[in-house]
Symmetry: C2
Subunit: 203 residues, 2 copies
């Protein structure tokens, strides 16, 4: 690309560092912003500066938060004895949107992935174990993606908790609601037959 | 979306103001930035602040520029007697990338579009006419998209220049190189037959 302006070029380079934003998209965005009369670029600049400087991870559950301890952990009307273990803050939002869970969360910050060089010590697993040991926790729910890495992480954590007086459960996996059997992958379909439930027990 | 953090929400709202960026994409970007260790958000914030404060439009050709008069207009080795009229700064970049043009540009800032409420006075047409009247210009090339609005704009400018001692030309339109005839639209194919050229004259 031949830029007539260094300022424009810098903006394009900065924006194209975002995931999924290539140089052409970054150029479209930068040209849009440079022609904009509503100070959109200043608003974005301000929001990103605040994001960088002020966003925290909750020191209890490691969810993204504006405060030292996040709103969910501070909420006394939620059930504090049940912890849902997730990979990322995005997953907390996804589960909150279902309105089906009223307990606490614990954000691991990823899953164990030797290929990407992520071991147990890179995740917030120690903090989870000490949360369970120091407080009376009834149940932890593993809401982690059923990939190889996710399964490895679930297995690793469940082994650490073998002796602890806590129930470890895992979210139901199977055919999606609205999904067609003929398009389901073999592994999911096979496992969903093996893990079949008595019909009346199903919610 | 249920945000656990107001700061995150503000960042998502600001980013989703960009064209082609919905709320889900904005959330993905904001989460990426909040987890980033390379100060990417600060770099973007700085680049966008500079973009907002310091970018100028060249006072001769209205191209985006860091200086009062852009690098192309200041370049004495380019041909100053030929002006290529384009819609936007993006088109200047596209033409510069072809390395086929060594003259000046004039950025209109859009095309005449009554439906969108854009009339001739909203575009840099007066400045183009006075450029042609005050300087000796040999030729202006209309490099404007062959849409209804674009054709209207070309017609409007060519009428204004009827009496002026300047050659008005328009970029060649027809079947794209590498394009297949059977997939070309009827209008383009029909016009490209009407506007056929003697074979040896073709470059």
């Amino acid at each position: 690309m031949q830029f007539s302006s260094k300022i424009l070029e810098d903006a394009v380079m900065a924006l194209s560092g975002l995931p999924g934003i290539g140089k052409k998209t970054a150029l479209r965005l930068a040209l849009h912003l440079s022609a904009d009369k509503h100070q959109k670029s200043l608003k974005i600049a301000e929001a990103l500066t605040v994001l960088h400087n002020d966003i925290k991870t909750c020191k209890k559950c490691f969810n993204l938060s504006d405060t030292e301890v996040c709103g969910i952990c501070q909420n006394d009307s939620r059930r504090h004895k049940i912890i849902c273990v997730v990979e990322s803050a995005r997953d907390v939002m996804a589960i909150e949107e279902t309105n089906q869970f009223n307990g606490m969360y614990h954000v691991l910050g990823g899953v164990i992935s030797p290929l990407e060089g992520i071991g147990p010590n890179d995740l917030n697993i120690d903090a989870l174990i000490s949360r369970i040991q120091t407080k009376e926790i009834d149940e932890i729910i593993m809401a982690i993606s059923p990939t190889i890495e996710g399964e490895t992480t679930i297995y690793y954590i469940s082994k650490l908790l073998k002796e602890a007086p806590v129930k470890v459960s895992v979210i139901a996996r199977g055919i999606s609601f609205g999904g067609e059997l003929e398009y389901a992958d073999e592994l999911t379909l096979g496992r969903s037959i093996m893990a079949r439930l008595p019909y009346h027990a199903e919610i």
